[in-house]
């Protein structure tokens, strides 16, 4: 039943490496097991499997893939409802649903073979998606109007692609490059996942489709060119995703050893109850771990599962909450996007990402809005709320029109205060 060919042995190799990594406690092993299982259908879809897959196997892969996709999507939707019922946040699950549906739509459009049409539809969808989610996420403000305008410009680009496919293709390629560099995406932070998956990759795909489809009707894109181009795109997307997983997961860069404690087991490290992967500095001090149970650090009570990080001197300096949690009176975002809630050495909160709009010291501060933060290289606002060491509000973005010290600010504007609470500058 199992065909022993080069693909089979390659998959065995991947599984073998995965087993070794699993034994050493690395989560990356899961990625390798999945890659081994999907190697044959993936290679075929990128035109690289050649004689190793016959047509009936292809049909079975295709049909089982469709069924599996439906099952996975329904399972994620089910998990969304369960988590909502439990009062837990579901941001990451929404992202998974979005990635699944977008990937299916995008690949289906490309496979239909009408590249120019596919390019126009993909880029128009990107623009509409951007405009829609900015409205849903933040309502109407100067910042969101700017974002909506960009979304509509992108839709316009898409329509222009019908008449000037090559020019628009080049413009989109330039837009993707600009987005990568201005948003500093080459750092592959976890928070960049949505930007890569919903914007950069679709924009690049649209650019490629418009370029390929710019030939006149009688010229057909050869199968070899198709395989190379879309195979490269697929490998590129997979590489980006892998880098986001590897680098993003290791944003806590341990310069010392790593120890893995199985889930459900606890180990006390320098007074902290840790579980899962524990990372140390070279001097042996604890750098990062997840709390096995509720614990109090620098006077701050943190729930089990919180990722806690220490400086090399042993001071607790930031944490990653697993769910929205009240920290020193501020409901703080947790779970997806890797929110780092920061603390001063003596325990006062330094940085939070608010889970809801909140009036802080009389100032109506806005909750974190993801799509506004995507444009931080343009407007300099990342959606965080900052405090001085004495507890005075230092910076926040307004949730409504407001006047401070006689100066009028609009919703979305950033306000800054010094340690005495005096306004520093208008933005």
């Amino acid at each position: 039943m199992i065909k022993r060919d080069k693909i089979f042995y390659s998959a065995c190799g991947l599984s073998g490496v995965g087993l070794i990594l699993a034994f050493m406690g690395y989560d990356l092993s899961l990625l390798l097991f999945v890659a081994a299982y999907l190697l044959r259908p993936a290679l075929h879809e990128f035109g690289l499997a050649g004689q190793y897959v016959d047509e009936r196997q292809l049909e079975i892969h295709s049909r089982s893939g469709n069924l599996a996709f439906i099952i996975v999507m329904l399972s994620i939707v089910g998990m969304v409802f369960w988590r909502i019922a439990d009062g837990q946040s579901v941001g990451e699950l929404h992202t998974l649903i979005g990635i699944g549906l977008a990937a299916r739509a995008l690949t289906g459009l490309v496979m239909a073979g009408e590249y120019q049409k596919a390019g126009v539809i993909i880029i128009s969808a990107v623009g509409l998606f951007l405009a829609l989610f900015i409205v849903l996420d933040g309502g109407f403000s100067i910042v969101s109007a700017f974002g909506i305008a960009i979304g509509l410009v992108i839709v316009g680009f898409g329509q222009l692609g019908r008449k000037f496919p090559r020019i628009i293709s080049i413009a989109l390629a330039a837009l993707a490059v600009a987005l990568i560099f201005f948003s500093d995406l080459l750092q592959f932070r976890r928070a960049d996942l949505t930007t890569w998956m919903f914007f950069v990759i679709p924009i690049v795909t649209s650019s490629v489709c418009l370029f390929l489809g710019s030939k006149n009707e009688e010229e057909v894109v050869s199968a070899r060119v198709r395989s190379i181009v879309f195979g490269s795109l697929g490998i590129g997307a997979a590489t980006v995703f892998a880098l986001l997983l590897i680098i993003g997961s290791g944003e806590v860069h341990s310069r010392g050893k790593r120890v893995f404690v199985p889930e459900g087991e606890t180990t006390e490290v320098q007074g902290v109850s840790c579980t899962g992967q524990i990372e140390y500095y070279q001097n042996g001090n604890l750098e990062f771990c997840r709390l096995a149970r509720e614990d109090t650090l620098s006077g701050q009570s943190l729930p089990a599962g919180t990722g806690v990080h220490f400086t090399e001197d042993g001071l607790f300096n930031w944490c990653m909450l697993q769910e929205d949690t009240e920290i020193q009176g501020y409901l703080t975002r947790g779970e997806g996007h890797g929110f780092m809630t920061e603390f001063y050495p003596k325990g006062q909160v330094r940085t939070v990402y608010l889970a809801e709009d909140q009036v802080i010291q009389g100032i109506p501060c806005a909750k974190f809005r993801f799509l506004s933060a995507v444009f931080w290289p343009v407007h300099g606002k990342n959606g965080g709320t900052y405090f001085h060491e004495n507890g005075q509000l230092k910076y926040c973005e307004l949730s409504e029109h407001y006047s401070v010290e006689g100066q009028r600010f609009r919703r979305g504007d950033a306000v800054r205060f010094d340690q005495d609470g005096k306004l520093v500058a208008k933005k």
Partner: protein, 83 residues
């Protein structure tokens, strides 16, 4: 499950294959041998002979060539009434 198409509201088309007969006529070729000749798996040949899988035009032409016959001799469509 054999390939069935509704030709019109009153009839059903089924594909029948004579692949096994032609295999034996060509020196009693095994399923594995004919599979290797046309670069597919043995399971694919099994599925074709059972009527569970309809080969692509390319594969059907390849099979006909290797078995020194025509596609029409190897495969046929039979109408049957659907109640």
């Amino acid at each position: 499950m054999a390939l069935r198409e509704y030709y019109d509201k009153d009839s059903l088309l089924e594909m029948k294959t004579h692949l096994r007969r032609f295999r034996f006529h060509q020196g009693e070729l095994s399923q594995l041998q004919i599979a290797e000749m046309v670069s597919v798996s043995r399971q694919t040949i099994v599925a074709i002979e059972r009527g569970d899988y309809s080969p692509s035009v390319k594969l059907a032409l390849l099979l006909a060539r290797k078995l020194e016959t025509t596609v029409e001799e190897l495969f046929e469509l039979e109408e049957s009434d659907h109640d």
